[in-house]
Amino acid sequence: MANLELLFSIAPVLNIQLVLSGLFVGAIFALAAYGLALVWGVMNVKNLAQGELVIMGGYIAWWLSIDVPVWIGIPAMDFRLFWIDFLPISVPAVAFLEFMKPAIHPILGLPVAMVVMFGFGWVIFKLIICRVIDKDLFTSLLATFGLALVIQQLLNLAFGPEVQIAESGFAIRSFFGGMVTVADIKFICLVLAGILAVVVVTFMKYSRMGQAIRATAQDPRAARVMGIDTERVYAFTFSLNAAICGAAGALISMVWVIQPFYGMAHSIRAFVIVTAAGLGNLPGVIIAGLGLGVAEFYSGFILGAVLQQFTVVGLLVLVLGVRQIQQSRHRQPVR
């Protein structure tokens, strides 16, 4: 209980730090959960590869932000691409590679990651997901779990098992005599996550495609009768999810670390948030994400890091229990 005392009587200003850190963490988790809620709600596919899509987005932003010659270890300046020797000009390989793939700031890599992941999502849908939508629960779980393994191994082959990070290079601000610090990048992440959420909600509400998605979610057969190409709606939804994951991944590469096998933690978190918030409740997902982030930080501080994740899952059980009791009151026996 020494930790409680520390928090409430000795250094209450730490509460601000904990709440802020929790919100920053929660915003990014909410983003990935948001995509999952979409896919789950519309297509009834429980995507176990959610975390891998996130990590993939992170790798895209990271790869765009690095110097390729440095990464693959080409010695400076004295190496020439062999076919350039036949040209009248001579270009050192390093300059050539830097010209071909300039190092882009990871914040600018975020939209690129979204676009690439949207395309990737479309391909994955056509290859795998479209075949499992109308199958039972276990088929879709198995298929997406297999997909997760394949993505992990491909990332491992392409980039190696080392832990990678993208540096934003942004400033860190401190308040209250250094007791509270806010890294600009985390604040930007919170804002970006907010903007993305607003854009997606607006899109779902007012655009034709958004309306079609909602119609399909409510009743795919009726939607088809009304002339909605549900196959296209499904493909778009899954791709949109991949794009949102890509954005979350790009942000994660700037605030935490990425590694080919770290996707699972993000998948689990997304499932917890969606389950707690309830399907089809997009504002609920955001609130649940932020709330769980803050709760996680408080439990990490007070109970220790070992119980940090336990709290998240414990809260989930609590929410489900409460909801069960609430619903049982409304249930009426059929007479």
């Binding site: 930790n3 520390l6 000795i10 250094a11 730490l14 730090q17 904990l18 850190s21 963490v25 270890g73 190696g160 098992p161 080392e162 832990v163 990070i165 540096e167 860190i172 401190s174 250094g178 007791m179 610090t181 890294a183 985390k186 994660i252 605030v255 935490w256 670390v257 590694q259 770290y262 699972m264 933690a265 689990i268 996680e296 930080f297 439990s299 990490g300 501080f301 220790g304 890091a305 070992v306 940090q308 994740q309």
Partner: protein, 413 residues
């Protein structure tokens, strides 16, 4: 009936083939004037990077010994040779391959695989057949609590990884006129076997000095954020912060220590180099302490390779593409040197005599001194602490081997 008839020739062939394979390498431990040492190491899979470093180290050790005239046993000169298998970074495969080395290839002298997990698998086999193994890449403490008799390790074990930082903190406290028991320690260790070994070693030393532990957090393996722990550190102002959680832990810690502007006078982190935190976070990692098994700047010398710096130069000349020589390679070479001296001391190829001879090892090498205790671990070589000083790794502890004074207190960047 006919089916059986058709199968008989195949069966006979198969049995003959098996008999051939089993018979051919009989007595392969010493062929003519060559002593064959066996090893299974990770050439593929998740440990492959370090597995290749280690095999390069083994090969350089063999090459050097052969150049210097080989090994003299019973007045006859022998060359060394290593027979490798690829264990694909999986302990199950390691166990199979060591069994194969011993049973099928009849090899009686073994070098260890890469990683604690695979070494554990190998040690079970070598104990079963009573075949001595010198290993260089398994640091886990649990390898040396099983009462193994045929296992010898040249490296420092995991509980020593951060222990010297405690001694260093005590030393600094004394210098500043404080009692070491006033020192407050904050610890954040990943909840996995390796990091908990490191923690156990640290706790022993903390109790020795009677220091106070103010934070003792175990981080779950898939935790991507340690700021809750670091905020607590910030509030409690410890004198020493210890972090161990592989590359992920090091990278996350470096990032969040910077973000939260954690101002602890002494910070020690394992896996700094593997996580490349200097390249990634620059000046904010200045004055971090990082433990290492070996560094080319140490003043160790031995008769086969000269100084640590000489080994460094030779290794880089031999193998292309190394900017730094990883300690995994250096300790692998040291394991080969241990075998060489053990053969000559035993003056025999009898495995029991060789086991006793290995147990008597007491030598100086470029990698540090090597002397085994009862459990087979090397007790003569300390773990060294290097401090990141202006982006360079300089040895600062233990004082005997230090090339630079320690920067204290560390300034938050």
């Amino acid at each position: 009936m006919t089916m059986w008839h058709r199968m008989i020739p195949k069966l006979v062939l198969g049995i003959a083939a098996i008999a051939l394979v089993a018979a051919a390498p009989a007595g392969a431990k010493v062929e003519g004037d060559t002593i064959i040492i066996g090893s299974a190491i990770s050439f593929s899979g998740k440990y492959s990077t370090n597995g290749i470093h280690a095999s390069n180290g083994y090969n350089l050790g063999v090459k050097r010994i052969n150049e210097m005239g080989g090994v003299t046993v019973g007045g006859k000169q022998y060359k060394l040779e290593i027979k490798y298998y690829d264990d694909e970074s999986t302990p199950l495969r390691t166990a199979q391959l060591f069994e194969r080395l011993i049973k099928q290839d009849k090899i009686k002298f073994l070098l260890g695989p890469y990683s604690s997990a695979t070494t554990k698998a190998a040690a079970k086999i070598t104990e079963k057949y009573k075949i001595p193994m010198v290993e260089a890449e398994g640091a886990s403490r649990s390898l040396f609590t099983q009462g193994y008799k045929y296992l010898f390790a040249v490296l420092s074990t995991s509980e020593q990884y951060l222990a010297s930082s405690i001694a260093l903190a005590a030393e600094i406290a004394k210098k500043n006129g404080r009692d070491p028991s006033d020192v407050k320690v904050a610890m954040a260790f990943e909840n996995d076997p390796f990091s908990l070994d490191v923690r156990a070693g640290v706790i022993d030393d903390i109790n020795k000095f009677n220091m106070k532990i103010v934070v003792d957090d175990k981080l779950p393996r898939d935790l991507s954020d340690m700021s809750a722990t670091l905020i607590k550190v910030k509030a409690l102002n410890p004198d020493l912060l210890l972090i161990s959680g592989h590359s992920k832990g090091a990278a996350t810690a470096a990032r969040q220590i910077k973000e939260l502007q954690i101002d602890v006078p002494l910070i020690a982190v394992t896996h700094c180099e593997a996580a490349k935190i200097v390249d990634k976070f620059g000046a904010s990692t200045n004055d971090f302490l990082c433990p290492t098994q070996w560094a080319e700047t140490l003043s160790y010398t031995g008769k086969y390779f000269g100084s640590a710096a000489d080994f460094d130069k030779l290794f880089k000349a031999e193998y292309e593409g190394y900017k730094n020589v990883p300690y995994q390679a250096a300790q692998a070479t040291a394991a080969v040197l241990v075998w060489k001296e053990a053969f000559e001391r035993a003056n025999s190829f009898d495995t029991e005599k060789l086991r006793d001879s290995l147990a008597e090892t007491n030598m100086q090498t470029f990698y540090g001194n090597i002397k085994f205790d009862q459990t087979g671990k090397n007790i003569a070589k300390p773990m060294v602490l290097r401090q990141i000083q202006d982006g360079k790794f300089n040895v600062v502890a233990p004082t005997k081997w230090a090339s630079h004074p320690v920067n204290w207190p560390r300034k938050a960047q």
